[in-house]
């Protein structure tokens, strides 16, 4: 097709300059910042700024609070991630059954938490988890379970946030799994039926392998999103009790925007980026190697 270059540049210029100026420039600036001692004094006068090399990263390595945030975030990702994917897959398979009536209504009601404002649902759940008046403890009382101080107990606080996050997110992956299931050709199951394979065998040797690309995609987006957890603990626990729900992003936010240790905070941000990058690469590798088998 005949095109003129200047028109292309005219169409591209606004979007590209916005992305370069307000995304890529800040990314590079943040990387440079992470090698400086940028703090509240530098905020007033940039001449106080000093290049400190890897000092921020070394300090992070020796910072017990950072390790706590790291541990909490990994705890959250490694439990909430697989759990929400499992719930998504099970609900997708149930909804995909030919027996289901009113499929649309079920799908919609499972999906609604996904689109609702995270801050608002975190506020709601904070009261759902209320030790005395919350509906969760009331519900559990029918099974003779004693009231639990969900958000006030360092042992229970993270599981509570995990439960809420699974509830909030499973609908999204469910939709993607339903699409994946519908792409599996029906004749594969018919052939397996003739061969005498039972349901579990069909699931193991048809459904799971055919869903592998979908599962990889779902795992990666879920992991990336969950590593960035912030609003849930910020609203429900403020990172407490005893820092048991302090996340990496919340620590970055506190260091950067509450104490104005911006150099240090930038180092936290880049560590997060690095972790997400490594996590994504590992999942691709696992997928590759399992395809070889």
């Amino acid at each position: 097709m005949k095109t003129n270059q200047s028109a292309a540049y005219f169409f591209l210029a606004p979007a590209i300059s916005a992305i370069l100026l307000f995304f890529f420039v800040p990314v590079i600036a943040a990387l440079l910042m992470s090698f400086t001692d940028f703090d509240i004094y530098s905020l007033g006068d940039y001449s106080f700024l000093k290049f400190v090399g890897f000092k921020n990263y070394i300090s992070l390595f020796h910072d017990p609070l950072f390790w706590t945030a790291l541990k909490n975030t990994f705890y959250f990702v490694s439990v909430a991630g697989p759990l929400s994917i499992l719930v998504s897959l099970v609900s997708a398979m149930l909804l995909n059954s030919k027996l289901v009536k009113f499929r649309g209504i079920f799908r919609l009601s499972y999906f609604i938490p996904v689109v609702t404002t995270l801050v608002a649902v975190a506020v709601v759940w904070r009261f759902v988890y209320h030790p005395r008046f919350g509906i969760l403890n009331y519900f559990l009382s029918f099974f003779s379970i004693d009231p639990i101080d969900w958000l006030g107990d360092p042992i229970w606080a993270m599981p509570s946030i995990i439960l809420m996050s699974v509830w909030k997110n499973f609908g999204y992956n469910m939709i993607i799994f339903i699409a994946g299931l519908q792409n599996i050709p029906e004749y594969l199951y018919e052939a397996a039926e003739i061969e005498g394979a039972n349901r579990w065998q069909q699931f193991k040797s048809i459904t799971l392998p055919m869903l592998a690309p979908t599962t990889l995609f779902v795992s990666i987006i879920t992991m990336i999103g969950f590593f960035q957890i912030f609003a849930e603990p910020y609203i429900m626990t403020q990172g407490g009790p005893l820092n048991s729900t302090l996340s990496i992003v919340q620590y970055m936010y506190q260091e950067g925007f509450r104490w104005w240790n911006m150099g240090y905070s930038a180092a936290i941000a880049f560590t997060l980026f690095f972790i997400i990058f490594v996590g994504t690469t590992i999942q691709f590798k696992i997928q590759k190697s399992s395809e070889l088998i």
Binding site: A30, T116, T117, G134, F230
Partner: protein, 271 residues
């Protein structure tokens, strides 16, 4: 096989109820008088129905202004970014120019970088321009994004070149082609992207929390988080605040859910 069918539906209904219960309780508690949601056993429905909490929110706590901020920002960012992203997506799909591949790949790499990385320098940039605590602080980082450009490019690739050629024969300028050929044909993807953008901006929390410092500038989620600090013992009031925050996105979703669901598929199949 009847048993199978019944138990399946029983399970589906139970899951549905579990999913919706927090919302049902939220709506119901928002219509309760002060203190009426802090009782044991919890009430699932108000004993006396009142608009008191909504009244307090709008007349005393000025949540109306926060509602306006959220709406204004979500609508304006949606419109602006739709315009910029669609022009760029169109160019990537239908033009040949120097450095196209490299530029596209560079921009695609932005999708793996978490936004938090940009926030510190962005804050300093906007502060030096005097834009912190203004609408611009939220609008500027939302002007354009690669996700939108990518979605539109994928869609625009399917628009036949012959349509564009025909318009050019008729003497249309490049911008006229974009406006009168490309935009009308890309309407479905534009609607999808509009919903995604509107919801993302409406629901966003961390950046507005950083960039807006006066309560009169807060968006609804930031205002709600702020209220939570002072009203931990007022579930009724907080539930009314949550209802107000959730209703607009819920309406947008329910009305346009077909486009939203298609957007998820497109992101997942090609992303």
């Amino acid at each position: 096989m009847k048993f199978r069918e019944v138990s399946l539906h029983f399970f589906l209904i139970a899951t549905g109820l579990l999913t919706l219960t927090p919302f049902i309780w939220m709506v119901s508690a928002s219509f309760m008088a002060e203190g009426h949601a802090s009782v044991y056993p919890p009430r699932l429905f108000p004993d006396e129905f009142t608009f008191e909490q909504y009244n307090i929110l709008f007349s005393r706590l000025n949540v109306g202004i926060n509602f306006f901020n959220s709406l204004f920002l979500a609508v304006s960012i949606t419109l602006i970014s739709l315009f910029l992203n669609s022009m760029a997506g169109f160019a990537f799909a239908k033009y040949r120019f120097k450095g196209k591949k490299h530029l596209f790949n560079l921009l695609m790499s932005s999708m793996i970088i978490p936004a938090q990385v940009t926030m510190l320098p962005l804050f300093l940039m906007l502060k030096s321009m005097g834009l912190i605590n203004t609408y611009f602080a939220i609008i500027i980082p939302g002007l354009a994004n690669m996700f939108g450009i990518f979605l539109i490019r994928q869609y625009a690739l399917s628009i036949p070149d012959s349509l564009i050629e025909a318009a050019r024969m008729d003497g249309a300028t490049d911008f006229q082609i974009y406006l009168n050929v490309m935009l009308p044909l890309a309407k479905p993807i534009l609607v999808t992207l509009a919903i995604f953008t509107f919801m993302t901006i409406w629901n966003d929390f961390l950046w507005p929390l950083i960039a807006l410092t006066d309560s009169s500038m807060y968006t609804l989620p930031v205002a709600l988080a702020n209220l939570m600090g002072e009203h931990t013992r007022d579930p009724e009031l907080m539930m009314a605040g949550s209802v107000i925050t959730i209703i607009p996105v819920l309406i947008v979703f329910l009305v346009l859910q077909k486009y939203y669901m298609e957007g998820i598929m497109m992101g997942s199949v090609k992303g």
